[in-house]
Amino acid sequence: MTMREEIEAAAARYPDRRSALMPALLIAQREHGHLPGPVLEEVADILGVERIWVYELATFYTLFHTEPIGMFHLQLCDNVSCMLCGSEDLLTHLEARLGIKKGETTPDGLFTLSTVECLGACEMAPVMQVGDDYHGNLDVVRLDALLDSLRAAAGRFARVEHASAPQPGE
């Protein structure tokens, strides 16, 4: 399905098209990686709603990104349960290993590091969400293994991208 078709399918679930704004923004963000102004305007146009309604949602909810983020968004929970189980040490380790502070993206565009409020998985604290997946019961060793596996996945992804790109002269 195209982005427009997906947004139309979402809109069919509600009696009012404005209700489809949140699903539409999630669809658009999955398609584009983040939500720059022209994408917000495209969403407004597809749903036929005021542009300001789209802007205000994109800037109110924390899962919407109006600025580009890295390929892997490391979202470390530092709320009470995770803090009690050592999330501060994990943050220090991540900042040292990635060479960035929380809120920043590595220069190669691979990792964006954020701390987030409770992820609702406190039984496996400390927890970090990366993309769609939760990683729980983390310690420095597990965290390093996770970063290594993400880097390896990025390497494979880059090779596939490179191989499928049109070659000069073809």
Partner: protein, 421 residues
């Protein structure tokens, strides 16, 4: 002997599939109400059970349902609050991930009771696995006629839609959730009108938590007397307790409502980590005032905890041991509420911003005489003066920390450092 019902499927390898759910007696409650009960009779069963809302407020569910007007030209809506954002809470996620059909059946039975043909399940956006499992379960249920036009050959039509949140704690507040469902910023509405009269799209709307709804099919099958027979009469039933923090066996426990907090923490969750002692427990998510160790005999139910100045809330039980600085815990809690304040009303938006600044300097050993009185004054200014319960929860949590652990706050100011570092 207590028999778990809400979690009976969650450890099955394919507990999220329709075949597993049906094999365990699933969808019999829906068959039963469609075949044997009028909608009013289902509402009456729930009233008789004394089921109270598991989202935090503990409002009687049957009474909430009975506020929906009988005669109205407008469609009625059922909304399920699955925005589970109260720190320390993870019970609804586990139901949705591992036994989604339990929720789908509960929605259909409850929708039939209140006369709704459409339900929206508002799931927090981070719960990607839960959302996928629910979508799969909805598709399976449609195929077998548990959802759709003419459910199981009756004249009851029912559809369930997932609405994915996007990271805002305030959506757990029911009117903010309705705003969000309407595609707006999630800011609470003034009440009245209450949602039962004018909720989603100004239509009569019932909003219930996942765990609350999950109780309904069991009440239908086993009867209200069974439900009332578990735990205290005014606050009965099986209950999910989320245990986390500095404890040996964190996890989700289904036990009777009203069990002593000490039994939950020490017997079921294994007690403190080796060499440590429990210092305090937050019994119901970070909105619930902290209970210092000598108070752990308290029963885990709405009325007992309220009488002791705390609350059951979402039953997010966070265990804190003697290695932990309570000023740090209080600071983190108020940072959370400040971050999640929707910005609509002044006491919450400005008061929490101010409180965070004072708490951070006290925690850093840079507090000044008068800072604690300043915090007392801020709590007073916030509590009872905000649109919704977010501000109240923040003020109650901070007040309890200041009351029970004032010596730790004073030590930070007098010694000009954190005594725990």
């Amino acid at each position: 002997m207590f028999e778990p019902v809400l979690l009976k499927n969650v450890d099955l390898p394919d507990g999220h599939l329709l075949s597993s759910y049906e094999a365990g007696g699933g969808y019999q409650a829906l068959r039963k109400v469609l075949g044997e009960c009028t909608p009013d009779e289902v509402v009456e069963l729930v009233k008789q059970s004394n089921l109270r809302g598991r989202g935090g407020a503990g409002f009687p569910t049957g009474m909430k349902w009975s506020f929906v007007p009988k005669r109205t030209d407008r469609p009625k809506y059922l909304c399920c609050n699955a925005d589970e954002g109260e720190p320390g809470t993870f019970k609804d996620r586990i139901i949705m991930e591992r036994d989604p059909h339990q929720l789908i059946e509960a929605l259909a039975v409850s929708g039939y009771a209140i006369g709704a043909e459409v339900a929206y399940v508002y799931v927090r956006g981070e719960y990607v696995t839960a959302i996928r499992r629910l979508e799969q379960a909805i598709a399976e249920a449609h195929e077998k006629g548990y959802l759709g036009t003419g459910v199981l050959g009756s004249d009851f039509n029912f559809a369930v839609h997932i609405h994915c949140g996007a990271g805002a704690y305030i959506c757990g507040e029911e009117t903010a959730m309705l705003e969000s469902l309407e595609g707006k910023r999630a800011q609470p509405r003034l009440k009245p009108p209450f949602p039962a009269v004018a909720g989603l799209y100004a239509s009569p709307t019932v909003i219930n938590n996942v765990e609350t709804l999950a109780c309904v099919p069991h009440i239908v099958m086993r009867g209200p007397a069974w439900f009332r027979g578990i735990g205290p009469d005014k606050s009965p039933g099986p209950k999910l307790y989320c245990v986390s923090g500095q404890v040996r066996k964190p996890g989700l426990y289904e036990l009777p409502m009203g069990i002593p907090l000490r039994e939950l923490v020490e017997d079921h969750a294994g007690g403190p980590l080796p060499g440590r002692k429990v210092k305090a427990v937050i019994p119901g998510g970070v909105s619930a005032p902290v209970i210092p160790e000598p108070g752990l005999e308290i029963g885990m139910d709405f009325d007992s905890l309220a009488a002791a100045g705390s609350m059951l809330g979402s039953a997010g039980v966070i265990v804190i041991d003697d290695s932990t600085c309570m000023v740090k815990v209080a600071t983190r809690i108020i940072e959370f509420f400040h971050h999640e304040s929707c910005g609509k009303c002044t006491p919450c938006r400005e008061g929490l911003n101010w409180a965070v600044k004072v708490l951070r300097r006290v925690e850093a050993g840079e507090g000044a005489p008068g800072d604690l009185e300043q915090l007392d004054m801020l709590c007073k200014g916030i509590f009872g003066n905000t649109f919704c319960a977010l501000g109240d929860g923040a003020a109650m949590g901070l007040r309890a920390a200041l009351k029970h652990f004032r010596d730790e706050f004073v030590a930070h100011i007098e010694e000009r450092r954190c005594p725990f570092h």
